[in-house]
């Protein structure tokens, strides 16, 4: 049995996600709030110019904050170094939820199984394991396609 040796990233390495668009909208909200509070407390005389200035100040603060504020540290421990073998472990059941109608006719057809790995990345249904053995051979490292379904991190999706 061969040992996977191909590492796809450096352990402990981080990347920073910036959120200027989120900052813009939160800053807009902040600016409107500042303007209302400033007017209501009579810190400023109510005028269109003053309101616009305060809202713009909030927007600028928010956008700059979203782009340049000190970044939050990553959550949890750094993931272990990912190798071809590790990638395989994460994806070996990827094709288990395949509808019965799409089950490959030839169970032992390795070429068909690789194709399935590329298209199905949802959670496995452990109740039907008939195709599990066809997902690939860890020794041959044929699971690179399924790695693309991994989430990028814990900061939430739909990012700007």
């Amino acid at each position: 049995m061969s040992t996977p040796t191909r590492t796809t990233f450096t352990p402990g390495e981080t990347e920073t996600k910036k959120h200027p668009v989120r900052g813009f909208f939160w800053g807009l909200m902040l600016g409107i709030g500042i303007a209302i509070v400033a007017v209501v407390t009579k810190l400023v005389t109510l005028s269109l110019t003053m309101v616009i200035v305060l809202v713009v100040v909030g927007v600028v603060i928010g956008t700059l904050w979203g782009a340049f504020a000190p970044a939050k540290r990553p959550k949890g421990e750094p993931p272990p170094a990912r190798t071809a073998g590790a990638a395989y472990e994460a994806s070996r059941f990827d094709d288990f939820d395949r509808p019965a109608s799409e089950e490959p006719a030839a169970q032992g057809d390795s070429a068909a199984s690789e194709d399935v790995d590329d298209k199905h990345t949802t959670a496995p249904d452990l109740g039907s394991g008939s195709a599990g053995g066809a997902g690939g051979d860890p020794d041959t490292g044929t699971t690179s396609g399924s790695d693309g379904g991994d989430s990028a991190g814990g900061d939430g999706g739909g990012d700007d």
């Binding site: 990233f9 910036k18 209302i36 209501v40 269109l48 990553p74 949890g76």
Partner: protein
Amino acid sequence: MGWSRVRTGVAIGGLVLLVAGSPATAQSDEIDQSTLDALRAEVPEGEPGEDDIQEGDDRFGRLVAALGETTIVDISSSSKLEGVCGGWAFSFDEDGELIDSAIALGNGAAPFDTFEGGQAFTADNPFQVDTRGLVMYFGFMPRNDEGPMDHSWSITTSGISLDEGGDPNENGDNRNAGIVDLAEDLPFPFSAKVQVSGELTSSNIGQCIGEGHVEFIGNGLTDPVGLVGLALLGGGLFGLLFNARPAQTWRGAA
């Protein structure tokens, strides 16, 4: 063209007085206590009728007489009133207590604060109104002659129209008196300091133009507007701190 619109138009001189001030010359901040007492004595007790024009005019005459000995000096240009318009205004809080009063003589002098002395409607001494109270006013344009005919008027703040109107005023009415019930007219109480401009243009006696500061007195941050402002400010801060801050993630983390 209803009678009420005619009165509204004619009263704009007084209303401009309400929200504006007066030109180059202004009256001294120094006023002796006896004069101030005499002015305050003219504040009516209880609410006058909507159409007490004659009573308002008589009161105006007495206020002018009480002010007669006051020294006239230049003070500030932060409020102005130009034209042959003038009048008086008294502001009461929701309990009926007088909180501010002012008079404009219509002779080029600045509006005068008959409650505390000094120039009225300035940035430092805005005319105070309680958003749950009421304001009595009497206005003229001019006091002893035919009123503005075929006129139009507008009240603006920061170039935005708050109200506008106009009327032929074929009868030549030149004065009006009434009460503005702010508790009834405003949808909710609020606090703010506002700079307001007013203008009336007529075909026969030219313009009445004024600018001045009005301070609306409410409950500050505990009014609905203040609470909305606090909520937006707090929400914006929360979002910036917990949703928009850049974040580091482990590269390739699952």
